[in-house]
Symmetry: D2
Subunit: 351 residues, 4 copies
Amino acid sequence: MPATMKALRKVRTDKGLEIQTVPVPAIGPTDVLVRVKATSICGTDLHIYGWDRWSQGRIKPPVTLGHEFCGVVESVGAEVAAVRPGDFVSAEMHVNCGHCHQCRLGEAHICQNLRIIGIDIDGAFAEFVKIPATNIWKLDAAIPEHYGAILDPLGNAVHTVLAGAIAGQTVLVTGCGPIGLMSVAVAKACGSSTVYATETNEHRRVMAKEMGADFVLNPAAEDVVKKILEATGGTGVDVLLEMSGHPAAIQQGFKTLRAGGRASLLGIPTETVPLDLVQDVIFKGATVQGIYGRRMYGTWVQMTALLKAGRVHLEPLFGERVALENFEAAFAKLQSGLAGKILMYPNGISR
Amino acid sequence: MPATMKALRKVRTDKGLEIQTVPVPAIGPTDVLVRVKATSICGTDLHIYGWDRWSQGRIKPPVTLGHEFCGVVESVGAEVAAVRPGDFVSAEMHVNCGHCHQCRLGEAHICQNLRIIGIDIDGAFAEFVKIPATNIWKLDAAIPEHYGAILDPLGNAVHTVLAGAIAGQTVLVTGCGPIGLMSVAVAKACGSSTVYATETNEHRRVMAKEMGADFVLNPAAEDVVKKILEATGGTGVDVLLEMSGHPAAIQQGFKTLRAGGRASLLGIPTETVPLDLVQDVIFKGATVQGIYGRRMYGTWVQMTALLKAGRVHLEPLFGERVALENFEAAFAKLQSGLAGKILMYPNGISR
Amino acid sequence: MPATMKALRKVRTDKGLEIQTVPVPAIGPTDVLVRVKATSICGTDLHIYGWDRWSQGRIKPPVTLGHEFCGVVESVGAEVAAVRPGDFVSAEMHVNCGHCHQCRLGEAHICQNLRIIGIDIDGAFAEFVKIPATNIWKLDAAIPEHYGAILDPLGNAVHTVLAGAIAGQTVLVTGCGPIGLMSVAVAKACGSSTVYATETNEHRRVMAKEMGADFVLNPAAEDVVKKILEATGGTGVDVLLEMSGHPAAIQQGFKTLRAGGRASLLGIPTETVPLDLVQDVIFKGATVQGIYGRRMYGTWVQMTALLKAGRVHLEPLFGERVALENFEAAFAKLQSGLAGKILMYPNGISR
Amino acid sequence: MPATMKALRKVRTDKGLEIQTVPVPAIGPTDVLVRVKATSICGTDLHIYGWDRWSQGRIKPPVTLGHEFCGVVESVGAEVAAVRPGDFVSAEMHVNCGHCHQCRLGEAHICQNLRIIGIDIDGAFAEFVKIPATNIWKLDAAIPEHYGAILDPLGNAVHTVLAGAIAGQTVLVTGCGPIGLMSVAVAKACGSSTVYATETNEHRRVMAKEMGADFVLNPAAEDVVKKILEATGGTGVDVLLEMSGHPAAIQQGFKTLRAGGRASLLGIPTETVPLDLVQDVIFKGATVQGIYGRRMYGTWVQMTALLKAGRVHLEPLFGERVALENFEAAFAKLQSGLAGKILMYPNGISR
């Protein structure tokens, strides 16, 4: 075991990130040390790179980023029985307290004292990462390594899609970033009938088709509410999966939702959204769900069952693969609006 | 059988109502004619009296008002088997089409072609009223007549309270008009632990206590969000029952709701409500439900079971009893902010 | 319009059926007359042909059989607005009373006064059939006619599969008759992960594979409980769909079910089944559901949405197509254990 | 701190229990040591005393019994943050593994590797008991100590009653032992309309009335199926809470259940129960639930919320209070069929 490792970190309260050499984390009795195989860059990492307002309020440098990854267990603490060195694993990076009201109710994903590895605690953009044993998710060998690196956002998609009935339902996905695209694939895999998707970026619209969307609309060029209402005989869609965070998309989504429908909101608007509660929620008898993180660990069970059974195909999502040291190029490419996921390798690129 | 009857009607496109003599309704093969015993005045009736903007868009005079009532069946159409002359009945006054998507899904209360008796069709402020047999709700003799007259709003309350888990839950009722007050009583009857209520009108706050609220707060004088968060150890309430339609109350309600909580919205805001979707819904993993009407007829089953078993006590709600002819005094009293329900009798006042 | 038509009927209280010439049904104001295009033979029809004990207690000859069909509307009663001559339709053949406790709760499929067209009332093995307008289900032109003829059993399958969570779930289907086979296809279409099926008939085992089952086992030759427990790491399956009615299959199914799993029972055992309630239900915290008919009309909405979107492929199920007059050969073939569905045409065979 | 303590233990593989002096348990880093205040004797303790067949297969002497208790925290392990010395607590005595399929799904109460304190591990019939910190349940000062001693069985009752809709529902409780009696009180507190109870023991029938049952029937003397069907207009009850484990009571319960009803089974039959699955489950569209333990920790949240709010009154249940040393008299009294709970005090009787 080496004593030090390289890690991609937020060091200064300013734009940018740095590769540093830091000690390999020491683990406690209930922790696991994982040798990182593949990681993936999240939009949140871009925000932290860019040091936006949210980052300034949340991030306490220095901290190693990275919360989408998979790897192989290197060592485990004295009290860890269910995980063994050599296990192929990913992890839930939201660490819950275990004793608040929500934790006691089995709603650990909305724990009142949640801390996030790679945001609040040193993360996985490094050769090794320390994870509480409870948060480790063992992966079946049938799951490819590059899929293992994106279970965090795929879990967001699965959590959103399966937060209500989906089989035989018409679905609108507003916003085709990575999680929106994954949601299209998951919804189709789980029996949704017609999936509509809206997206202004042309490249992402093409990808939405590849992921299985039946109709992809450009809200910058078309009246999506009118078109979808016409296509559904005036009824609207059964399910809205809101993935954009754009107020206009949210409003269009609600106008498109049928009376009695479900609106599951994952996208994060940066401002207050004026809602026509009467027409869009109350008279419609609609159900609106806030979706955050992944259910711990029901979503992981569902997600890995779907993957292991080969029900969800995400290949179009995967873009370039780079070494950790080449992070600048990867971040720049994503900043420019690339739709897919770039994989980043701290211990050598796998094929 | 008389050929004509008196009825309280909207006759002109202007403020006010009039007592007129009109023909007793002729019934078709699937209809029921009910001799009206007791009626109750709804806030909607006040709006129609006042000829507000909503009324101007919806009401097509002349029409007989009245959608809260009970009575005795006078006669039935040739194909009606399940209802008989002499039956003591109330009725669901929302008439659904039976064939739209929602009707087929068992969500008739949000039918796409809903028409309301007493709004769109001649109603129950008359000696007789015509009702489709399907909409008739037979009442057990154990249910007092004055309770029979207010099943429409009580159904709104029951629908809202029982739209999710309630036993052992902490509840906030925002707005203590009649339906808010009924919701307090229903929530307590169904095992809610602590019920908080907010209301600016002092008389209604007193009534909220009488109906069983544990803590009643005045949002005009107190920081209700802070107080309730303190009282719940910082967690917030499990359930928000929004009965006011006031944007400020809605916003306070959402701030008071715990992560993972349920917000059931029945109150009708008259304007767009700016919502902090991120903090109040998405990060909270909250569930927001629009509530409209009464489930047809699940809510009626629940409501009459609760009443028949003596589980819900509404006596404090009942105010004056007047003959139909004295409607002006009754409407004036309600306009002035009276909290309870005034009963109006087209066929003689019962005691 | 002809005055008479041919119909396949149970005439005598004995084995066998007869083709008779009978009057075309007269329809009432709320009825619809359908010109039958394609019908399908159900196992129940075989029982009635054979005049088994159940038939002797239930059937009151003379009666026209047939409850799986599609056709084109010929004429409608005076009060029917939502259906028009020329509409391509199927129908729910369970006729509910509309006013019992279950009907009022939206559980019409378990109405206390249910009557079945083709069992208790003249059915669809005829040139024309009379159906209450409420029970008519309009079909999209995208649904092929031969699929339209088997919506009754497909609805049983959809009702069973979607009676609980299915996406990402491991499933065991016990019994691969037509409904079991359909259940395999529906479960896969709705995102189940691994589907196990058990069946003693070799031909049906081959069909189960064609319908999408991942593993098909022969309980006459293999220890299915042991094999499935091994394949699931000792945990068992998430969902049991019991389609056989065989006591041994039911018991094996329960032993294979994981703690916390769902057992949905549709198959009809002909005798009392001894259950190890403690080990198989109570200590397991299992949920057991009786499934009967199709939800009215939620199942129809789900089923036709899945079909219209091309999510469920049933081609392997379809066998021979015969004219109504050739019913003897068709019944004989099914009696001999054929797995698929034979279509029977009263108005000429379609291709 | 003393080094030793007295404890009530199963020492020999034979009938009887013994008071022994044993070391005070040493706690690990994630454990809590509780000074026991009040305990209660469970039917399971009687079985172990009597050394019945089940005990012989499960119990490995020597072991200290006792799994119903409350106390005050004496000391905590190094890694325990959420519990402090001096806290008034009870505990969930079912210890789950944390990593099996069920634990990952949030169904820890049916963990595949469950161990029970007081059965498999030394329990609370002693001056001190060692509990994993996760299993500790902190009690509000508003909850009386004698209630704190019976949360384990009360949790069984709450788990059963709240496993489905209860407000406005008619309920049948079969078997009025302590958990059956608690279920009556909980069902009424949570808004059930009419509660029927069946019990052969006269003293328990009197207690059922005191706990709030509306109708109490003696199945040894009355045709309970007929009586309840008559009382419900032939429909049957909405909810069956099976608390007896008697095959005849289970069968009567199912015959009494309405089509579409819920049967929640907690009582443990000692033999295989022949069920008429067709008439009682399948054609009825019934839902049957196995109930085991308490949801961890949703049931604890519900139960303590109900108690803290004063919604459940259990006073009639409490019988004698004895010192631990006088266990023989207490066990003898319970063996003779006493209905209530006897409290046993290892550290001096509280009043």
